[in-house]
Homo-oligomer: 313 residues x 2
């Protein structure tokens, strides 16, 4: 039996999984991410933990096909991180090479965490059976991962799939985290939805359950499900902008499927009815047939995808 | 010595080239495209012509690595044309399989003509040395071709790279050929530039050489070079919209380089100074470093790319 290891490095914890080459999971666990000292302990900590678990399971290094590592920053297809990783304190360096030195004798492949999660959803999740897929992560921001012909599109500087910063609105006064104005992320992320909600609520005094507690993306979609009219208008706006942004993406790479994940996606398939009308309006007719599916792997998408990059290379 | 053949099927002529595997051209020629009878003669005519020329050059079929065929319509990565080819009268069919039957014993690969031309520019033209490239064709419409990791992005329905239909403007009253309103093609194609010019000229009576003859994209850029202020404003608008559209493309696939071709590109590098400011304004910072280059192969891009798909598969 051959194995692959998937590693998903986050700002507070590192998730790790050992998989059989047939995709069955052997073990998964977490270790804390120690960011002190510019994160210099992160890779040695992971290597130590992986080697200990392999030994615990009686798996020889020579039976490990490779280790896939997803990291929170741009990673090019050589494993280089041109901007390092701000959350971990990392300066620019080659993630795959450096982790290779720590782990020894096992091939290492590095990629951006969102792209790795996208790969996981293609292999084992909502994108199963497809090779041309766009993963859309609706969280604090809007991230994405593009898979073409079964391969991650890393991009020239590791920023492939950064669809959250597609320009969508011309007269946006607020500034996006990237310094721009009118990025998709300003309307379709959890924080974007809150912004849309506050604007709508400030517009008039129409009654809404959203006036009663703290406004969050979850509160908006719970209210939508309860039939709240104002919440429905906010969801319409969210869907209008997201559909428009995804139509642009479809006109570039013409995917088979969009897989929607991230915290906002916990609202469920109801999201799709807000996204699809605007998507179909703005997508070029031959690209309009793209399917929409919900992500299925949740927090495991990263370790599954990281191992999947090794098994399905 | 091994060879590859490149075929570029257009609405009036078919361009054909025989190349050595080191990329040197052996011969190139054209035959008329006979579209009568729903274009049923097109593939037999090409096969007959190719076989005659191979024989003339003393090249055995067994020394031909393959024939690449670019066709004017969507072609998926299996060589299937889901919409056929309107200009040729073709119904949906598998181009690669059918041409394979005509030519016999030589591998055939089919692709969309714009994507094939993009591949040619990557292999031998303005995109040389790059593997992540977007070709932008500014002609009657705006076409595109995306190359990632040295491979054409055909798309789920063969419509990869159809960037001319990215939605750019919200309040456009005119209808695009695709039925939409505000597509990139309505501002950045040769006909789009004429539209922008007519609008600008109708706005006031400011003197301009463009008021003297027929307005064309060429006339606009000739006037720009002669220092005409009104023409400069029209070019600014063209560049603003095109830069904005290409920024969206960059935020999706993060290419190393954009290669600008098509009739409008005959204006030369002066185009870039109108495109780049808006591109840099709207592209996500890590994607902003994409280079811009002019296409170099002109009408040969199709045959070079079609043969290149075989040689660099």
């Amino acid at each position: 039996m051959k194995y692959a290891v998937g590693v998903d490095i986050g700002g507070t914890t590192v998730k790790i999984g050992i998989f059989e080459e047939n995709s069955k999971i052997v073990d998964k666990w977490e270790i804390p991410t120690v960011t002190e000292g510019n994160g210099k302990q992160v890779l040695p900590d992971i290597a130590k933990s992986v080697l200990a678990k392999l030994s615990e399971h009686g798996i020889e290094k020579s039976d490990v096909l490779g280790i896939g590592v997803g990291a929170p920053g741009a990673v090019d297809d050589k494993g280089f991180m041109p901007n390092g990783a701000v959350n971990l304190g990392w300066a620019p360096f080659n993630l795959a090479e450096e982790f290779g030195k720590e782990i020894g004798d096992i091939p290492v492949k590095g990629a951006n965490d969102a792209n790795v999660a996208a790969f996981g959803e293609m292999w084992q999740g909502g994108g199963r059976g497809h090779s041309d897929m766009v993963a859309v992560t609706l969280g604090t921001g809007v991230g994405g991962g593009i898979i073409i012909g079964g391969k991650i599109v890393a991009g020239a500087t590791g920023a492939g799939g950064e669809i959250g910063h597609i320009h969508i609105v011309d007269d946006e006064p607020d500034t996006c985290g990237c310094g721009g104005h009118g990025c998709l992320e300003q309307y379709a992320s959890a924080t974007g939805i809150v912004r849309l909600a506050k604007r709508r609520l400030a517009k008039d005094n129409e009654p809404s359950v959203l006036r009663e507690g703290e406004v969050s993306a979850k509160a908006v979609f719970d209210a939508v499900k309860a039939g709240d009219k104002v919440a429905g208008e906010i969801a319409d706006q969210f869907g209008y902008y997201l559909g428009k942004g995804l139509a642009a993406v479809a006109n570039v790479v013409n995917p088979q499927v969009f897989v929607i994940g991230g915290g906002v996606s916990k609202a469920g398939e109801i999201l799709l009815k807000f996204i699809e009308p605007s998507f179909k309006k703005y997508a070029f007719p031959p690209c309009r047939g793209a399917k929409f599916a919900m992500a299925e792997l949740g927090n495991d998408a990263g370790i599954v995808g990281a191992a999947g990059m090794i098994i399905n290379k």
